[in-house]
């Protein structure tokens, strides 16, 4: 099986940030969008929608095939799943920020209090990631590269 990952299609994004909220809720202790902001330490969204210019851009882990973060991680916390996603074993993470130093997307955030790096884990326990489910513009596509090609590129 090939890697399933998030594809962000910037021309479809209208910057509603629903993905961020969905991600926050999913990765919060309370599982409540009303409570998350009050949590300590406060959870961080792992997808961040920015508007650097006229278009939106989602900063999110691209699950690179030949990842710089995996090679830079000095603890072995960043590794590839058997399918090829890049996943982060927070137990092993010591917060050295080597991954942050190399990720060219800025998709890994430092959780300073916890001394752990934080990045998209594709919510493998869900059928599709909540950020994708919440995107009304279908600017996020979750699937294998083949599926992307058939459903988006060949569209």
């Amino acid at each position: 099986m090939r890697v399933q990952k998030l594809f962000f299609i910037s021309k479809r994004c209208d910057g509603c940030r629903a993905c961020e909220v969905a991600c926050l809720e999913k990765h919060s202790q309370s599982q409540s969008i009303f409570m998350t902001k009050m949590e300590q330490p406060s959870p961080q969204p792992r997808i961040k929608v920015k508007r650097p210019g006229n278009q939106y851009w989602a900063t999110v882990c691209q699950h690179c095939t030949d990842s710089m973060c995996v090679r830079a991680c000095m603890t072995g916390a960043m590794q590839y799943s058997p399918e090829g996603e890049v996943f982060h074993n927070t137990n092993k993470c010591v917060g050295c920020w080597m991954c942050i130093m190399v990720c060219p997307f800025g998709a890994i955030a430092p959780l300073n209090e916890a001394k752990k790096a934080s990045k998209c884990d594709l919510c493998k326990d869900e059928k599709i990631p909540p950020c994708v489910a919440s995107c009304s513009r279908q600017a996020l596509f979750y699937g294998t590269p083949e599926e992307y090609e058939m459903k988006v590129a060949g569209d």
Partner: protein
């Protein structure tokens, strides 16, 4: 456990060819387009790449995807490499000697005990000119009756044309199209089926030829044409007859040609007299004014050409349609002149004569039609078949054909790959690919081009030529008749076939694009037939009504063989097949690339899909009186409502694991032309449940 190195990502995804190696020249033998190809070989002598041959004047370096795909057919896992014998249901490797001895022994036994008619050949894919000649000699020596491509592909066309003009071949080369003013393409998607030669039609169009396509489907050819006439399925004859009627009524035909070169004009006039354009409009769905305009165009734009395809030949009322359209070309005087005539991929170079001493000839002791073959196989009249080809996928009612073959006493398959027919055989013999055999290849341009053997065989493959010669030896026949190489075979052919006498191997190789035939002596060649106005019928004239004793008549496709008597309620749709560019017959489906290019589907109109209740990609079960298969829906407005169409190539033993579309066609014959039908059968379609891929 995860990993830290993804080695797959470390290897490069591309490896561009280097072009240092020598290129070998050959001719593609897939679709009779006669495209020149260049083959580059790797150090092991395997095909590395296939290019178009820029020096070949017929394709000028252009090729379709098929020749590029073939390397994978050659070296793929499905290829048969050595003789095999079925023992208790599984194949075991045996030697050629063993295989030949066994076949010879069985063959002689059946001739002795059951007569020559107990053995038939189903041989649509014998091989090149060498194999065909050897096969012909073998058949004459043993009284073997063969069913070649004719019954499933060309019979209607060849028979009608033979009766009209005295020769079953197309009368003009495709290259002549640049000289014509109007080109009528009927039921032919040449843009896909002969993609490598389609530039002739676009070139003609560029030079001002009006290209008119008559088809049920909005094909790629139609898309490139000046005019597309969408016609209801199976109503071509009505259109042809109305054109005849209109041309005659309005005096638009060529009176000089008609009086000097035709017989039976008056009878033809009578046959079509009631076929007004109004009536044709009701039947065909083509507006009266369009038909009339077309008739006028045909009368004013001269010379004009006709290019027919399987869409009109393999249908259940093909004979009448072909008769009407070819008759129309005749009365318009569009025969024998540059830029006129009929283009066809049937290009017989004619048969050999006076090769076998009369006392060595064995006559078949019974004759049976292609449709009777099924019954005779089932009832035990046929004991043994020699298969070269894949009848279990290419013949109609494939399931019945498979069952019939399985039930025979002894089946031999001389085959390239382990296909649907080979798995049923008792003896499977490895055949050479056309790149592994030299020979003269005729094409749609009515030329013969010589191709050398391009690649060495890598297993124990033998060509049909070698196989039939060796078999004849084992059977104790006079094997001295047989040539022992492609080159000597061609010399023999030239000696005994005056159509090619003037075409030596050297001449073919020295002439770019090859030599036009017939060519009875060196120095001469005939680009098109009947240029002298003399036809090959006994009268020397076009026999306008000689096709049949009965009058030229239109039969509705729903009342024609295969469909007559069926309930429209039970089978509300029509099912047909169409070819695509990536496949040719069943050969290409064993290639990885073809596999990537093309997946089985059934085309249907959006409203038909709505009726059936399926969406794009959903599985559809198509049922006919003969059987049912499941295909993925492809929704397109390029087919009319109520009409379903799929590709005919796939087989259950192929990588596609798809039941052949021919499973759906009952055994029925076009009464006028004689073709087994493989289009326009009444069917029903239902959603199969489950989503498609």
């Amino acid at each position: 456990m995860g990993s830290y190195v993804r080695t797959r990502a470390l290897t490069s995804s591309s490896e561009p060819l280097d072009h240092d190696e020598e290129l070998r020249t050959s001719i593609c033998c897939l679709c009779n387009g006669g495209c020149g190809i260049k083959i580059s070989l790797d150090q092991e002598g395997k095909i590395k790449a296939v290019f178009g041959d820029p020096e070949n004047p017929y394709n000028k370096g252009k090729i379709c995807s098929k020749p590029m795909e073939i390397a994978q057919t050659l070296y793929g896992p499905y290829r048969v490499r050595y003789p095999m014998k079925k023992v208790n249901g599984t194949f075991e490797r045996i030697s050629w000697d063993e295989a030949l001895d066994l076949i010879a022994q069985k063959y002689n036994q059946y001739i002795k005990e059951n007569g020559t008619g107990s053995i038939v050949g189903i041989t649509s894919k014998i091989g090149g000119s060498y194999s065909k000649l050897a096969h012909g000699i073998f058949s004459e020596l043993t009284g073997l009756v063969n069913y070649g491509t004719g019954p499933i592909c060309t019979d209607s066309e060849a028979n009608v044309r033979k009766k009209l003009f005295g020769d079953g071949s197309g009368t003009s080369p495709l290259s002549d199209v640049v000289n014509s003013k109007i080109l009528l393409i009927v039921g032919n998607n040449t843009a896909q089926t002969k993609a490598g030669q389609f530039h002739w039609i676009t070139e003609a169009k560029r030079r001002g030829t009006r290209v008119v396509v008559i088809d049920t489907r909005f094909t790629e050819t139609a898309q490139a044409a000046d005019l597309f006439i969408q016609i209801r399925p199976g109503t071509d004859a009505a259109l042809g007859m109305a054109l005849l009627n209109y041309v005659i009524k309005n005096g638009l035909y060529d009176p000089t040609f008609v009086s000097k070169h035709t017989n039976g004009f008056e009878k033809l006039v009578q046959d079509v007299s009631t076929f007004t354009t109004k009536r044709a409009e009701e039947i065909t769905g083509v507006p009266q004014n369009v038909i009339e305009k077309l008739a006028q165009d045909l009368a004013t734009l001269k010379p004009g050409m006709l290019f027919e395809g399987r869409g009109i030949v393999c249908v259940n009322n093909a004979g009448a349609s072909l008769w009407a359209f070819e008759g129309l070309m005749a009365i318009l005087g569009n025969i024998g002149k540059p830029g006129s005539g009929i283009i066809s991929h049937i290009n017989n170079t004619g048969g050999i004569s006076n090769l076998i001493q009369p006392n060595d000839v064995m006559k078949p002791d019974r004759k049976r039609s292609s449709s009777a073959l099924y019954k005779d196989m089932e009832e035990g009249d046929v004991k043994m078949v020699l298969i070269s080809g894949n009848p279990c996928a290419t013949w109609p009612d494939s399931a019945r054909m498979s069952k019939a073959i399985e039930g025979l006493d002894f089946v031999v398959s001389h085959t390239l790959v382990m296909d649907d027919s080979a798995v049923l055989a008792d003896i499977v013999l490895p055949a050479t690919h056309w790149l592994e055999e030299a020979g003269a290849q005729p094409s749609v341009h009515r030329v013969l081009q010589w191709k050398n053997k391009t690649v060495e065989i890598r297993g124990e493959e033998k060509s049909g030529g070698d196989f039939y010669r060796l078999l004849a030896e084992r059977m104790g026949l006079n094997s001295s008749y047989f040539p022992d190489s492609s080159e000597s075979a061609w010399e023999l052919e030239r000696k005994h076939n005056k159509n090619v006498t003037g075409i030596s191997r050297e001449r073919m190789l020295a002439t770019p694009g090859g030599v036009h035939f017939p060519c009875s002596e060196i120095g001469k060649e005939n680009v098109r037939l009947f240029a002298n106005g003399v036809f090959k019928t006994s009268s020397g004239k076009v026999e306008l009504t000689g096709v049949s004793d009965a009058p030229l008549d239109y039969v509705d496709t729903f009342d024609a063989p295969g469909n007559n008597g069926l309930s429209r309620e039970e089978f509300p749709y029509l099912f047909s097949t169409n070819k695509v560019a990536s496949h040719y017959h069943t050969e290409c489906q064993y290639s990885d690339w073809a596999n990537e290019m093309e997946q089985p589907y059934v085309e249907m109109h959006p409203l038909t899909a709505l009726e059936i209740g399926v969406k794009e990609g959903d599985k559809v079960r198509v049922e006919t009186v003969a059987g049912s298969i499941v295909l993925a829906a492809k929704i397109t407005q390029s087919v009319p409502r109520g009409f379903l169409s799929t590709q005919p190539y796939f087989g259950l033993q192929s990588p596609y694991r798809q039941a052949p579309a021919n499973t759906l066609f009952p055994v029925a014959t076009d009464p006028v032309g004689g073709n087994l039908i493989s289009k326009n059968i009444m069917c029903n379609a239902k959603a199969e449940g489950g989503q498609g891929s």
